[in-house]
């Protein structure tokens, strides 16, 4: 086992362990802190993949900014400590996730498993050829490809190159605009006068809706003739 594999296993254990803690803990705040550990482990994976830029981006964006955002939003939540989130489906979801992981491992993992799918209705249509009866051993297109020394500059050039990623790059700017405008609209605190006016308008609407929902208290109806006759006298 190479040193790289040892480091990978250590990182994997750290990431999976902290991720499990995040989804199982009932304390949101601790979960948010443990999420940072998971993010850090992922940054380690990027280093192992020879992509230092993404590792730095991971630390800057996910740990430096998004974790802070998550922690702030946890602290924004009123009565966070009193809230004990429980999920009745946790057990079944855990089993489903484990099964899915097993399938992924068999399908994409390093093992070559021979399965005859010709009798299975949908799968046989999906995996028609002879070679498809073998699950696993996926021919990853970029496995073991060398990362050039100048990969950061290459990436930078690709971002603004018309023949490469210029459109997605500019698109990100518009996306960021939309996100910021939307988030400010949703989260901005309004001035007290605005809030009061809004609440009043809504209260009025709700009262109207409630009145519409409840059956009208109708007076016991007299026969038409009875009213007419009393009016006559």
């Amino acid at each position: 086992m190479t040193l790289q594999q040892v480091i990978f296993i250590i990182l994997a254990i750290a990431v999976i362990g902290s991720a499990l803690f995040v989804v199982t803990t009932s304390n949101l705040f601790r979960g948010a802190l443990m999420l940072i550990v998971a993010f850090f482990g992922v940054a380690g994976f990027y280093v192992l993949l020879d992509n230092g830029l993404f590792a730095v981006a991971q630390v800057m964006i996910y740990i430096g900014a998004i974790s802070i955002l998550i922690i702030f939003s946890v602290m924004l939540t009123r009565g966070m400590q009193a809230m004990i989130p429980r999920n009745a489906q946790a057990g079944s979801v855990a089993i489903a996730a484990a099964l899915l992981f097993l399938i992924l491992l068999l399908a994409f993992g390093p093992f070559r498993l021979v399965v005859d799918l010709s009798g299975v209705p949908i799968l046989s249509a999906l995996f028609r050829t002879e070679s498809a009866r073998v699950l696993g051993g996926v021919p990853w297109q970029f496995a073991n490809r060398e990362v050039p020394e100048t990969y950061i500059a290459d990436f930078g050039r690709a971002l603004v190159d018309l023949n490469q990623f210029l459109l997605p790059f500019l698109l990100v700017a518009f996306l960021v605009d939309a996100v910021l405008a939307g988030a400010i609209y949703i989260a901005r605190q309004r001035k007290p006068a605005e809030v009061i006016a809004e609440r009043e308008a809504i209260a009025k609407e709700e009262a109207e809706e409630l009145a519409a929902l409840q059956p009208q208290p109708t007076a016991p109806t007299l026969p038409q003739g009875a009213i007419a006759s009393t009016a006559d006298h």
């Binding site: 249509a125 028609r128 996926v138």
Partner: protein, 495 residues
């Protein structure tokens, strides 16, 4: 920058820059005159629509290193999206004032969402598909919560955001797996790679990626079983936003879906023009289409609320269009989506008229009792919309369904067409129920609004006339729309 590159995404550029500029312009517009922002957005949407109309030609062009494609389908969808958005803006002016929602952010966000839709229909690369879907979704999350702090609107936004973000995760994971398996995200290259290397067509990794991408896109069009968000979001969101979501989002997501499907066309051994569905995908698409048609129509039958019924109706119509996707006839699908969009918009005109006149959002069937006699114009528009949604001639819905089922039968999916016709017959029950309530039932309480007030708003009336006229004209002169759609020749969705 190459002019030809710009030309391929001109409507997108107009809408996106217009949206951002309007965001800033709106800062200077005083609160009392927010309709000015609305009119500016209207102009931008129309300009983008006109630019798309001017660019329509039979040619297929690629731009930005093959990331986007401009063809007759894309420009047709652009025109459709821009017209729908312009009509929604007209509808929103009065409605938002009446509901106390006249806030300037609505229009820039609408334009940004529209720009995402416009890019989604031009996308020829999975990367652009993902980013465009995000650009169209994120403003929509906010717009569905636009009536904050109304609880139902906030609930709609949260539900849409959580499920939508989850679906986006599927989409981007799928794109990553496809890239890992094939080494490309460009749909044209992917198709070529699949043709060159048949072993790739049964690659488990590629299949898993395709399945995940399909989940992400099927979520956006609200196909069963990814439809659970739709009724609540459609009901809780402001009615103008619901109208926009039910029509424009669906059309944009469908064209993106068809391009992805066409990118995988080489999975099929038999290649036919203009757009092929892989043999492996066809049963899946047909199955989802069938379930969507059945579930959408049967559930719509049980609704007590017109707005919610229209939400289920939009699910059901996604099923019809998906049947068209399974048949591989993009022209029929886009024609159907146009017919559906105008009919649904016409129905929403009535809902918005009620919402902005009576001041509350009571869309239960009882609330509509006798409306058709109080405001005959609204009644006639609703009748047109309902007839078109059922598929009764001479409305657009009939021609749309005719083309669609013909394509489905031609592609040996007769059983699917049978299900489609049967569910259409079933759908008459709840669509006609609306008309029955509108014209034949007496209101329980004296209506608050004067009949004149229902028809008072000029922009809304323009939107009403345009959508109603579109429903009729598409039904009577379908060939004009078809000419625009195909640009005179067959178009390959991905090349």
């Amino acid at each position: 920058m190459n002019v030809a590159d710009l030309e391929t995404v001109l409507p997108f550029l107009l809408l996106a820059t217009g949206g951002v500029a309007l965001l800033l312009v709106d800062l200077a517009v005083p609160q009392a005159r927010k309709s000015l922002t609305g009119w500016l957005a209207f102009v931008v949407a129309l300009a983008a629509g006109v630019s798309a109309l001017a660019l329509v030609s039979g040619k297929t062009m690629k731009g930005f290193a093959g990331m986007v494609q401009a063809d007759a389908f894309a420009y047709f969808a652009d025109v459709l999206l821009c017209v729908v958005a312009a009509l929604v803006i007209l509808l929103s002016l009065r409605y938002h004032t009446a509901r106390g929602l006249m806030r300037g952010e609505f229009y820039p966000l609408l334009l940004l969402s529209l720009s995402g839709m416009s890019l989604a229909v031009h996308a020829a690369d999975l990367l652009v598909v993902f980013l465009a879907i995000e650009l169209l979704s994120i403003p929509l999350y906010v717009l569905s919560g636009f009536a904050r702090p109304r609880l139902e609107s906030e609930e709609a936004a949260l539900k849409y955001f959580l499920t939508g973000a989850f679906a986006s995760g599927f989409l981007v994971y799928g794109v990553a797996l496809i890239y890992g398996a094939s080494g490309t995200t460009a749909l044209g290259d992917l198709r070529a790679a699949l043709l060159d290397n048949p072993a790739l067509t049964s690659d488990a990794l590629l299949m898993a990626g395709l399945a995940l991408v399909m989940v992400g896109l099927l979520f956006k069009i609200a196909a069963v079983p990814f439809h659970f968000w739709a009724p609540d979001v459609y009901e809780g969101a402001p009615t103008t936003v619901t109208a926009f979501m039910a029509t424009a989002t669906k059309a944009a997501a469908f064209l993106a879906l068809m391009r992805v499907v066409a990118g995988f066309a080489a999975l099929s051994p038999s290649l036919a023009q203009p757009f092929e569905v892989a043999d492996a995908l066809r049963p899946m698409l047909a199955l989802i289409a069938a379930i969507t048609m059945i579930v959408g129509n049967v559930t719509a039958l049980a609704q007590q609320n017109v707005k919610r019924m229209l939400a289920y109706s939009s699910i059901a119509h996604a099923g019809y269009a998906l049947a068209g996707v399974a048949s591989g006839d993009a022209t029929a699908v886009l024609f159907y989506l146009a017919a559906y969009a105008f009919a649904t918009l016409a129905a929403f005109v009535v809902l918005i008229a009620v919402g902005s006149t009576e001041g509350n959002e009571d869309h239960r069937y009882e609330a509509y009792a006798g409306l058709g006699r109080r405001a005959p114009l609204l009644g006639v528009i609703m009748a047109l919309a309902m007839f078109s949604l059922i598929g009764i001639p001479p409305t657009a819905g009939f021609v749309g369904k005719y083309f669609l089922f013909r394509a489905v039968v031609a592609s040996d999916l007769t059983w699917l067409a049978v299900i489609g016709v049967l569910t259409s017959a079933l759908s008459a029950a709840f669509y006609l129920r609306v008309l029955m309530v509108l014209f034949m039932r007496e209101p329980e309480t004296a209506p608050e609004a004067e009949p004149a007030a229902l028809a008072a708003d000029a922009p809304r009336m323009v939107a009403a006339y345009v959508s109603a006229a579109a429903v009729l004209l598409i039904g009577v002169f379908p060939s004009a729309v078809l000419a625009l759609l195909t640009g005179g020749e067959l178009v390959a969705l991905v090349r």
